[in-house]
Symmetry: D2
């Protein structure tokens, strides 16, 4: 059994990692850390794990983490991650970072959208952990930057079309809708039940920090700089992201070209399910690592509308992180990720 | 007290009419009809109205309706409305039609998206009941076509920009999200609690019947034919529509032009509230006739993103219908519509 | 127009007071206070009130409150209320207190369940503001203790049966279920959307502070000391309380006795609606001051099961407070409370 | 791999069986049947299962079912089950019946609450499938009657107390609250999203068909006839049942007796988790086979209040059915049921 640790395990992505790893046949969680919950038993803090884990939250000490594990998931806020990752790597431990700290390759872009980067020298080494795009690099990586939830849903929606040049990259608009767990477990008025229930809103329009992350990867796929409109919305539900991604077809492109691009690109991908006209629904992927994709070509406007559905905590965070761990460790890619989605 | 009747009062828009009219100081509901509930007391069918109404559902007979009322709200499915409206008008009764039957001015467009129209001769006479656009015509109308819920939210979002030519009409994309009451009270798997709760989906992408209605009105505003992308989504909530409307700025247009267009257009409108940077939230308009508008100009993409929030049953149907009734009857426009929104 | 003020207006009961009073024909809100929001415009803090109020939160100063109003609603936490109420009364201002400070007549019971009382001398004067039980006393009161939400739902459910001696008071069990707004607007993990949504739990079993309040009033009705079991539960919804109240029938009591007791007791009460076999549903009272009651007599167990439904923010707090204000001020009891419930 | 079939697989319990069995290491689902969906691919009907199953719904023919499987889950409505079970048993196939047809041992009680029983001769043979009570009998059974969801939650809550004679059986009141999936997938106004969302109600008070099932098992535990009050309620959530069970302590019984009874009874039970003062929450068991129990002894009323939480579709139906299959087939009891609950 491979020993792994979770640094910052008291939030929702930490919990989701623990839930998934519990069913993983080749991995054992040896250590969980949390600054605030130090000394608290996991199953007291989170009774759902009673009869499943016998763990106590420890302080977040990179030395101890390195002693007790071969791979560490860092599920802490950005900035906190980059404070311990260099020490972990130095001790020979592999890292899957669920924060935003190593997703942007350009430290100047990081500075603009977040803050000054403390270890820019690692940015070139970190691999962006979207297996459908970087599988081979992930296999060899010692540091994987696990993608953001929104970027996962948007990038997978248009990757085949951009790579094949079927759409005009300058016209991409991603209108995304997320469940509340994406805001994390920290209390705030914005996640108060009565402020969310039976309501709907957009937020951070044109300013969300996932924008440069999406643009970075779309630019790679397009082979040139891409700027997009990205609008996140808050849905009164716990889990799930649905992204509706609009773009104009390049001249001469037919619906059959679009269909074929998706088929070719995702043909062998277990975790991407193509529905074509059967549009995806977040309930159909809940609790799973799937990204469901559907699309329409609208002849009236000559636009392609791609719709993607993921579970923001699984494919958008911890499930993808486990998939990356599998790849980095030579384990079967789907190991621990075989459960069917939760419905109803 | 003006006598009014509701034909097809057993659905959600019928209920909402009854709720609003209960608080109206100058109107008395004399008759409610329903083919299926004929003979049933309103407060047995809908216990919320106990101690409020002493009415029994009657059969939908235009003669009786005309005898017992000066104005009829037709809250029936499309096709059913146009079967009784001519007889009502012939008897000198005014009509606010909540169905889609008289919204499209071109019978050929109606045929394409719905079915053959039975009374195309009335299409020219019917006034599209969006007071901010057609107030004076509504005052004189005997037949008002009450706008659809999605069209209300989209048209109000871009009317000022199109009228002033600030945006490129060919780039308009309306991404709309609606609560479940928009699907009506008829049972179906699509509205089963367990198929909706904690999930999110798009539907009828590129095919929704509200598309030609939106385009008709945007074309009038733009002064030329407008074709848009319109995508409806289903939100796990009962009431509310939020529309996120994207468009490219025309060359040279500044944010201040956009701001000024909204200010000028809606300055005297009680039922439109401008938030500018304070983006609208559906909970803030619930149960009211308000349309809240907010917008961002994104310098990175040169796009304007307008967000509108309405209650689909109030501003998107029955509240607007009462507003139209007020205008048609010489009553104060806000009569019966002065309650504050419901929050939390 | 009578001038009223709201001390502690930034919470949900404050908002609900403002919503109701907006539609009240004889009252004008002159002053709202909030320690935390001092200086903030009401419609900035709570955009739903835009176009409705032109008020700014002020500091909670009893002198100012007394200068600017004839009646003050104190919608503050317990303890805070009793700090300003004596000064208000001394200035000749009437008070409806929405906190628990003046609900218990015995200062020793207050001490046991809350803390030491600072003005025990006022406990004898304060009238318990349940109009169905204390209407005449309320009319003459200068200080009304507005009942708790759970107590309102439980007391109204068994009052007719206890007064007539039809049930064994020692067997009363009240199993109550409340929406989340009952927990107030303060943020906490317990009201985080993801901790509430799609879940259900009991809390404070056998320890909830509303227990002595219920027992005090049931004892008055029974004419002897009553001790009950009371269990509150949290429902994933915003508004509403449903209480299921069990008790054993006294020997010889028939279903017809129970029916008659309810009929006789509530015959002239506008705000209590009797459904008998048609059991109440919280959705049917949402946003209204109604208490809907239904009951079953179970011949198998010789028990009576009464079910009551109220809106916890309206009948359980602010609606009842306005009703009390009406009574104290010689206004019609239903003034400002005539709207139909919100459904769907 | 053991071959199993599911008769009536298109409802929620059928789906839940398929979800659980997908993760079962020793079982293969060979056949699924549905009268209405005959010929439809499972992953068309239920896209969540894409990439998981390659099955088509077949007609419900007992001969075919017997040919293709060693054990059949009958997940059909009552009456439909007893039409095919005799033929299955005659062909040597074991059966776990999820309907109510074989839960009541007395055909006269079945007749009273349901209808005439067609195979009363099998009632004596069928074993009530609650492993904590009948584990050894289940191991040897060829027909297991899988318990109802409410009965599972109520029986487990008081079994230790009744068996030890700590409570007065005549005082038992079970107040139960269930998510909407308990009503099944069939469409009806009662499960329409807008009729459920943000509301709460009781239903079938004193008349629910699970009452005799609960009483049958409590009578066995008490050693004498037990009659209870049972009240089901509908919670606006998809999954979960929480039962609050009240009873009076027998004279002289202390809290420590209650604690010890629970400890002793459930000490070795993996699927029952005792929280004592930490009261259970349905979210903590979602998607799992756990039954979480907590309890309070209220010295003021001398009552014991036990609270139990289960997932109605897992422990209350399909999870328990798989557990029974495991026992009947000599497989480890927890096989396929090791996943952690779903939270958030």
């Amino acid at each position: 059994m491979m020993k792994v640790a979770i640094a910052g395990a008291s939030g929702y992505t930490g919990f989701e990692l623990l839930r998934i790893l519990r069913a993983h046949p080749s991995v054992s969680v040896t250590t969980i850390t949390s600054r605030q919950q130090k000394g608290v038993r996991l199953d007291d803090f989170y009774p759902a794990f009673k009869h499943h884990y016998d763990l106590v939250f420890e302080d977040t000490d990179p030395e101890k983490l390195a002693d007790q594990s071969e791979l560490v998931f860092t599920a802490m806020p950005h900035q906190a991650s980059m404070e311990i990752i260099p020490a972990l790597l130095a001790r020979g431990v592999k890292v899957v970072d669920l924060s935003a700290d190593y997703r942007l390759r350009d430290p100047e872009v990081y500075r603009q959208w977040y803050t000054e980067h403390k270890t820019p020298e690692l940015l070139g080494e970190a691999v962006y952990g979207l297996p459908e795009l970087y599988r081979e690099k992930i296999r060899k990586a010692r540091l994987v930057a696990n993608p953001g939830c929104y970027p996962t849903s948007v990038i997978l929606a248009v990757a085949p079309l951009l790579r094949r040049g079927l759409i005009d990259a300058a016209t991409i608009i991603a209108d995304s809708k997320s469940g509340v767990s994406g805001a994390g477990r920290t209390v705030s008025l914005g996640t108060h039940y009565c402020e969310v229930n039976d309501g709907f809103k957009a937020y951070k329009v044109g300013e969300h920090r996932h924008t440069p992350e999406i643009e970075q990867e779309l630019s790679v796929l397009a082979g040139s700089n891409v700027t997009i409109s990205f609008t996140p919305h808050l849905v009164p539900m716990t889990r799930g992201i649905l992204s509706t991604v609009y773009s104009n077809l390049r001249p001469g492109v037919q619906k059959s070209d679009i269909d074929k691009a998706f088929e070719d690109f995702y043909h062998d991908e277990h975790f991407v399910r193509l529905g074509a006209d059967n549009l995806p629904v977040t309930l159909h992927v809940r609790g799973s690592n799937f990204c469901d994709l559907g699309w329409k070509v609208d002849p009236r406007t000559n636009r392609c509308i791609v719709i993607s559905a993921i579970d923001n905590l699984t494919r958008g965070a911890s499930g993808q992180a486990v998939c990356n761990m599998n790849l980095m460790s030579g384990l079967p890619e789907h190991s621990g990720l075989k459960e069917a989605p939760w419905q109803p």
